[in-house]
């Protein structure tokens, strides 16, 4: 150990420690020596003995797993950090997300939704019926509107039954509506 502060080390025995003719630098050098001494004296004997006691038990132990101090919020905790493991976890999470997304997309493209079916049916029927209503109000007089409306209702009911299939409940409702008109 080289605690001799009068030399630069082996082979430099004749070189003074502070070869500064400039007294300003010599003073800085002396101040730094004071600062170093103050910091060494901050290592109180009880601290040094505590370090010696704590580390003596590690003599002859196998190398421990290297850990770093991880900070969660403001609370420091010693937690092992494995870069490889973290990378694998990230890759697995990305793969899982992609596979779930692909499965959902496939399901949605294979089966049309209830909204899709309703939109197709109502578009076909409504276009035909609206054309008929337009023609009715354009050509017919006011007196004949009632008769023509009943005829139109009958035809629409027939179309609806043909589209959705025969249903007694609908048939009764259609009859009552036709009579009330």
């Amino acid at each position: 150990m080289n605690n001799d502060r009068t030399t630069f080390g082996d082979g430099f025995a004749n070189v003074p420690e502070t070869p500064y003719e400039d007294q300003g630098l010599s003073r800085i050098d002396a101040l730094l020596a004071q600062a170093g001494a103050a910091d060494r004296s901050a290592a109180a004997p009880f601290r040094i003995d505590r370090i010696a006691s704590a580390t003596a038990s590690m003599l002859g132990e196998a190398p421990p797993e290297i850990s770093v101090i991880a900070h969660i919020g403001d609370t420091p905790s010693r937690a092992p950090r494995h870069r490889t493991f973290n990378g694998m976890r990230l890759a697995a999470a990305v793969a899982l997300t992609l596979s779930v997304g692909a499965a959902v997309m496939a399901l949605r493209s294979a089966s049309p939704t209830l909204n899709d079916e309703t939109a197709i049916a109502s578009t076909v029927d409504a276009t035909t019926d609206l054309d008929a209503l337009d023609a009715l109000f354009a050509d017919a007089g006011v007196d004949s509107v009632r008769t023509d409306a009943e005829a139109l209702h009958t035809r629409v009911s027939a179309d609806t039954t043909a589209y959705w299939g025969s249903d007694e409940l609908f048939g009764d409702a259609d009859a009552q509506n036709g009579a009330s008109l």
Binding site: F12, G36, A38, A44, I51, E61
Partner: protein
Amino acid sequence: MSDPLDSDAIAEVLAQAARGDAAAWRDIVRAYGPRVFALCQSRCRDPEVSEEVTQSVFATVAVKMTSGEYAERGRFESWLFRVAMNRVRDLMRRNRRRPENLADGQLDQVRAAPERPTNDGPELALLRRAMEHLSSADREIIELRHHAQMGFKQMSEVLNEPLGTLLARHHRALKKLREILERDMPDMQEKQPAQRRRAEETRQ
């Protein structure tokens, strides 16, 4: 701080400690502990953190010595302080990664507040503040030299730098510290030799 171990004694004490001799190990920690502690204390100004870092350094040394990863060839001190320097670098990196959010004006309060109760005089306090302005590499040289009390040859082994480069950087770091201190401590200029003052007057 206990008496330093000479180069002949250190080999024997290291061999005893490697065999699990707790008394020999305590001698090693007492001989080198304060110097390792000072290396950290200069950076963090917190004795608790310095003790924790010093303990981690000696824990690493204890495990590597007894597991045969270190063979004594007269370079124990260089090896020890290389481990210590790496721990201090880790500490500084960690502290940089954890910036604290401060409200407006809080930063000035933090700067104005004393870091810890200390017996430093005003000159030492200014010197420590001036050291904050050194580059990390220059500061390491200053601290290895003045806090860890290493010779320049050992420092060149620790830092893997040529001896001449270290001497030049040490000199440059001292000059930079002097410039900062002269700015903050005008009375220092009065203590400079007349030769330097004349040179400055000539330049002006």
